[in-house]
Amino acid sequence: MAQQTIHAATAQPDGKSRRGVRRTVTILAVVALAVYLSTFLQILLMK
């Protein structure tokens, strides 16, 4: 990880890390939503 300036009040890193945080959050939020929706797939098992 390159040396970076970070604003302590918001902890927002500049440049590469800011994009990294955004990408991490997006992927994890999509995974959480997918798990939530997939629980309803049990409807396929209903007789």
């Binding site: 990880m1 970070i6 604003h7 902890a11 890390s17 991490t24 629980t39």
Partner: protein, 538 residues
């Protein structure tokens, strides 16, 4: 490390906000939010504990003593919900909030405003949940698992479901924040395999949370639609199946058990090397063991359902998969013992709680191994043996680790040393009375006493009385803990040094005590000799 010498001069010019509302309600500071989580968790510990006292009071003697059966059922369900979602999980999130940025050299969490929201959702969730006790019809009384069709009879189901959704949203946001922080905000040179074990344990726990909390949300949403919107997910009359709920619930529920114990493993892996004055034995093995336990936690859920009537092949698979967990868990226990072996050990209060954890959690693990055996589980199922097992894991396991962590890091948080004498009084009373409380419950379970009943056969009277006495005294002992915490925070004259403990290593000990409001605005320089586990490749 040169950082510590210059740090306080750099940070003194901007401290905490002056106003109470601004500081505590609007905070984006990981330390303040961590403190809020820990205070909330302690409050919930006493609320959930008071429910436990009522349960033990009713069970003190055979016959109905103090309450109606429905209220007893409310107490067992609410005790579990409050302790799991209100006390244990927020305590670990609080510890993670406080310590993860300090341990990886980050100035704060990656998403500080979301951090604030994650916390402030929780009080509303629990007010909602606890308010059901005062509503006509009462609170949830079908156990924390909320199996249908029993849970569908509760008039307060919607309140409980909404509260669980809020808790889940809070947990998922917290988990995303922790992962984003660890993956993106580490100081230069803090490679993944140089991170403290506590940080590793939280990284893996956060992935578990994201993978399973939405499954719980889905399950309780279907309960809600079954009760109020005419769906039949769990109604055989409409083509549904109540056992499907159990599968989804335990797909969440078993990893949830590890969500409550993996950060505890991380804490013990911080405390033991400090007081043994040795690097942790087998750092990489410890990290891989945590990852292995997390993976296995996804393929063992049906061991909670052996008695429901699973196909034989499924029962055998889940039995062996469950027994496999003892391998990485054994690696961890042996590594903690190996860390202590030949070390210059001292026995301050955090170390006492850590040693008690290792011994008593292992007892809980062994009884878990017993009930992994399908034929044996048919006898243990729904008895007090199960109650004894999971309380050894969650009280002498998770709770003891949290208390140990509080004693360990309290001097760093407050800048003051706690009173060691009263810390030890707290420890010895806790460790004695917790065993008086829970050990007899093994015998009650083996003798056939069912769980979740307000009355029982007179044959179970003696052990129940002993257990209740242990419960009252264990509960009272925790008041000593509160006294020690308050004394340490506000009245202690003994100031903590920056490093606090002679054998402590890691970035968190390079900053002043108490930790300044802002830390690591300039990323620290990592010196491998200062890391808790020494040189990884040694």
């Amino acid at each position: 490390m040169s950082y510590a010498a210059t740090h306080d001069q750099h940070d003194d010019h901007h401290g905490a906000p002056k106003g109470f509302f601004q500081r505590w309600c609007m905070s984006t500071n990981h330390k303040d939010i961590g403190t809020l989580y820990l205070i909330f968790s302690l409050t919930m510990l006493f609320i959930g504990g008071s429910f436990a006292m009522l349960i033990r009071a009713e069970l003190f003697k055979p016959g109905m003593q103090l309450m109606q059966p429905y209220f007893f059922n409310e107490m067992t369900a609410m005790h579990a919900l409050v302790m799991i979602f209100g006390a244990i999980m927020p305590a670990f999130v609080g510890l993670g909030n406080w310590m993860i940025p300090l341990m990886v050299g980050a100035p704060d969490m990656a998403l500080p405003r979301m951090n604030n929201l994650s916390f402030w959702i929780l009080p509303f969730a629990f007010v909602l949940l606890l308010s059901t006790l005062f509503l006509p019809g009462g609170g949830p009384a079908g156990g924390w698992t909320m199996y249908p069709p029993l849970s569908l009879q509760s008039g307060s189901l919607a309140y409980a479901v909404f509260a669980i959704h809020l808790m889940g949203i809070s947990s998922i946001m917290g988990a995303i924040n922790i992962i984003a922080t660890i993956l993106n905000m580490r100081a230069p040179g803090m490679d993944l395999m140089k991170m403290p074990v506590f940080v590793w344990s939280w990284l893996i726990t956060a992935f578990l949370l994201i993978a399973v909390m939405p499954a719980l949300a889905g399950a309780v949403t279907m309960l809600l639609t079954d009760k109020y919107f005419g769906t039949n997910f769990f109604n055989p009359g409409g083509g549904g199946d109540p056992v499907l709920y159990q599968h989804i619930f335990w797909f969440f529920g078993h990893p949830e058990v590890y969500i409550m114990i993996l950060p505890a493993f991380g804490i013990i892996s911080e405390i033991v090397p400090t007081f043994a004055r040795k690097p942790i034995f087998g750092y990489k093995a410890m990290v891989f063991a945590i990852a292995c336990i997390a993976f296995l936690s996804f393929i063992v859920w049906a061991h909670h359902m052996f008695a429901v009537g699973l196909p034989l092949g499924a029962e055998v698979f889940f039995m062996y998969a469950t027994m496999l967990i003892s391998v990485p868990t054994g690696v961890k226990v042996f590594n903690w013992v190996a860390t202590m072996w030949g070390g210059s050990m001292t026995f301050e209060t955090p170390m006492l709680f850590a040693i008690a954890f290792i011994i008593l959690f292992t007892i809980g693990g062994f009884s878990g191994l017993m009930m992994a055996l399908v034929p044996a589980d048919f006898q243990y199922h729904d008895t007090y043996f199960i109650v004894a097992h999971f309380h050894y894991v969650l009280v002498t396991g998770a709770l003891f680790a949290i208390i140990g962590a509080a004693y360990y890091w309290m001097p760093k948080w407050t800048g003051n040393m706690y009173n060691e004498f009263w810390g030890k009084v707290h420890f010895w009373n806790s460790v004695i009375w917790v065993n008086v409380l829970f050990f007899p419950q093994h015998f009650l379970g083996l003798a056939g006493m069912p769980r979740r009943i307000p009355d029982y056969n007179v044959a179970f009277a003696n052990f129940n009385m002993i257990s209740s006495i242990g419960g009252f005294l264990f509960g009272a002992t925790q008041l000593i803990f509160v006294g020690v915490l308050i004394h340490c925070a506000f009245f202690s004259k003994k100031k903590a040094t920056d490093r606090v403990w002679e054998g402590a290593k890691g970035l968190e000990w390079t900053i002043p005590s108490p930790a300044p409001h802002h830390t690591f605005e300039v990323p620290p320089v990592i010196n491998d000799d200062e890391l808790a586990h020494g040189h990884v490749n040694d």
